[in-house]
């Protein structure tokens, strides 16, 4: 992070962080405002029409449910279980998919042969694998991590493959004519060159994985956010269901905003490689 003030063209580098903090606070406000508006509407509509709590809970009862589940530690336990599964499945998925994607991307013949397969499995990845995963791994941790892995693996491998094959030939030639051999070509050119696509792949794959996780937890376990939702339904506890839905949504937004978007910014946008849609 040397000379970042110089790079951004700021004339007073010392005050840069103040400006950045203000800016990100403003950004957060813009992001949170619509969500707060939704809560406000909810707080007005439910008492106004005297909605049956078995159909939809009031804001207060959800807040109570949140307080209760935080106090008895159950919410943290569910969140922890879900995050652990997503984290582990994603880690295994990325670690295996990236080298494979690069190896395939290097050879045009292999890549064109495998591309249709990867597209097929990218679409299939996720909840469609739950039934067979439970047969292979039994109900529980293994089956769910497999579903997550599956959702991440194919999307990341496909995107890595795509990323490698879109690196201009002249850049590879430049590296070779500067003395780069196989390994250096891989670590200095192919990996960073494919990174924009890899990050996109991880972002898409994690999105699939998160949805798949909730679905899998409803079927194949006895702890986790999906399980929390599913069990609450049996007791007509709509306030727990809605709490679970809110937590699931918020957690994803946090993962995306605090982890994936900054990762994209730190690398790709600075390099001018981003192709935003």
């Amino acid at each position: 992070m040397i000379a970042s003030g110089q790079r951004t063209g700021s004339k007073t580098p010392g005050s840069g962080w103040v400006w950045r903090t203000m800016n990100s606070l403003a950004g957060a406000a813009v992001f949170v405002a619509p969500l707060l508006a939704l809560v406000a509407i909810w707080a007005i509509v439910v008492p106004l029409f005297e909605v049956n709590p078995r159909i939809f809970p009031s804001v207060a009862s959800v807040a109570d449910a949140a307080a209760d589940s935080i106090r008895d530690g159950s919410l943290i336990r569910h969140i922890g279980a879900s995050l652990l599964r997503v984290g582990l499945g994603t880690l295994i998925g990325v670690v295996t998919a990236v080298p494979l994607g690069i190896a395939m991307g290097v050879s045009p013949a292999v890549s064109s042969f495998l591309t249709p397969l990867f597209r097929f499995f990218s679409v299939l990845a996720g909840i469609a694998w739950i039934p067979i995963a439970t047969l292979w791994f039994g109900y529980g941790f293994g089956a769910i991590v497999f579903v997550i892995f599956n959702a991440v693996f194919f999307v990341v491998a496909y995107n890595t493959l795509l990323g490698v094959s879109t690196i201009p030939m002249t850049i590879r030639n430049a590296a070779a004519s500067l003395g780069a051999r196989r390994w250096a070509l891989l670590t200095e050119v192919l990996l960073p060159g494919a990174l924009p696509n890899i990050v996109t792949g991880v972002r898409t794959g994690l999105g699939f994985a998160w949805r798949g996780l909730i679905a899998a937890e409803m079927i194949a376990t006895n702890v986790g956010l999906g399980y929390m939702l599913f069990v609450a339904r049996d007791f007509y506890r709509t306030e727990v269901i809605v709490l679970g839905m809110i937590v699931i949504g918020l957690l994803w937004l946090l993962i995306d905003r605090l982890l994936l978007v900054p990762l994209e910014r730190a690398t790709i946008e600075r390099w001018g490689l981003v192709r935003r849609t």
Binding site: I2, T170, S177, G179, A184, P192, L195, G272
Partner: protein, 252 residues
């Protein structure tokens, strides 16, 4: 002393659109002396870029041979530095890291290669841009980086493939003047591919005119150095030589 020798070089390839074998380079023989600046000029399709790609080792040749200091060229290597029309800088590396890439590949420790890179950046007047990324620079600055990145690796021969074709006219003239200055300071052996006749004459000790995959003719350029556009534009010898080369290219 001869550095680079092309002997009866030939390139044929299969053209999938024409559905037949096409000969891009028929029979090219060329010797380049150490420290010589040779411009290769010709109309598009004359095979000039194909020749450069063969010398760089990016594509195989079909016949003849390429000798660098007596040894046959096979595949790309750090003894032949290349400057690309599209710059081909590494977008994920800073300017300093780009220029230090060749030394890094040779195993030069970080402190030493940073020093080498800074020295070459100074040569190109780019010291202030060391920590920037390529996409933050103008086209002209990017190509300055491209030139010193190749030079920093100390290649036996510097291959330049229409390097200034994608920058604006004013910047191009500045880059040409800077290149002649750098050449005078360091005396690298250069093969410079271009379709711009004035550029070819301005830069070179010798201009090779190519036509339909063959060497049509060669002209020695004995203009004094340093070469500056303000002087040369009015210079009778420069005008005569340019006209002569232009006539050859147009008849080619």
């Amino acid at each position: 002393m001869k550095t680079l020798s092309l002997r009866n070089l030939q390139k044929t390839y299969f053209d999938p659109y024409a559905g037949s074998q096409v000969t891009a380079v028929h029979d090219v023989s060329l010797d380049v002396e150490q420290g010589e600046f040779v411009s290769v000029v010709g109309p598009s399709g004359c095979g000039k870029t194909t020749i450069l790609n063969m010398v760089a080792g990016f594509i195989p040749y079909s016949g003849g041979e390429i000798l660098l200091d007596g040894a046959a060229v096979k595949g790309p290597g750090p003894d032949r530095g290349v400057v690309f029309q599209s710059f081909a800088l590494f977008p994920w590396k800073t300017v300093l890291e780009n220029v230090g890439f060749g030394p890094k590949m040779r195993g030069v420790p970080k402190a030493d290669r940073d020093r080498i890179a800074r020295e070459y950046l100074e040569l190109a007047g780019l010291s202030h841009a060391a920590d920037r990324y390529p996409n933050e620079l103008s086209g002209g600055m990017q190509q300055r980086v491209g030139v010193v990145r190749a030079l920093a690796n100390n290649p036996a021969v510097l291959l330049m493939d229409e390097p200034f074709a994608s920058v604006d006219a004013q910047t191009r003239m500045t880059l040409q003047e800077e290149l002649t200055r750098i050449w005078q300071e360091r005396k690298p052996t250069v093969i410079f591919i271009t379709h711009d006749v004035a550029e070819a004459v301005f830069l070179a000790n010798r201009v090779v005119v190519l036509s339909k995959g063959r060497v049509l003719d060669q002209i020695k350029v004995d203009l004094p150095r340093p070469r500056v556009w303000d002087h040369l534009m009015q210079d009778e010898t420069f005008k005569r030589l340019s006209a002569q080369v232009l006539q050859m290219v147009r008849s080619a």
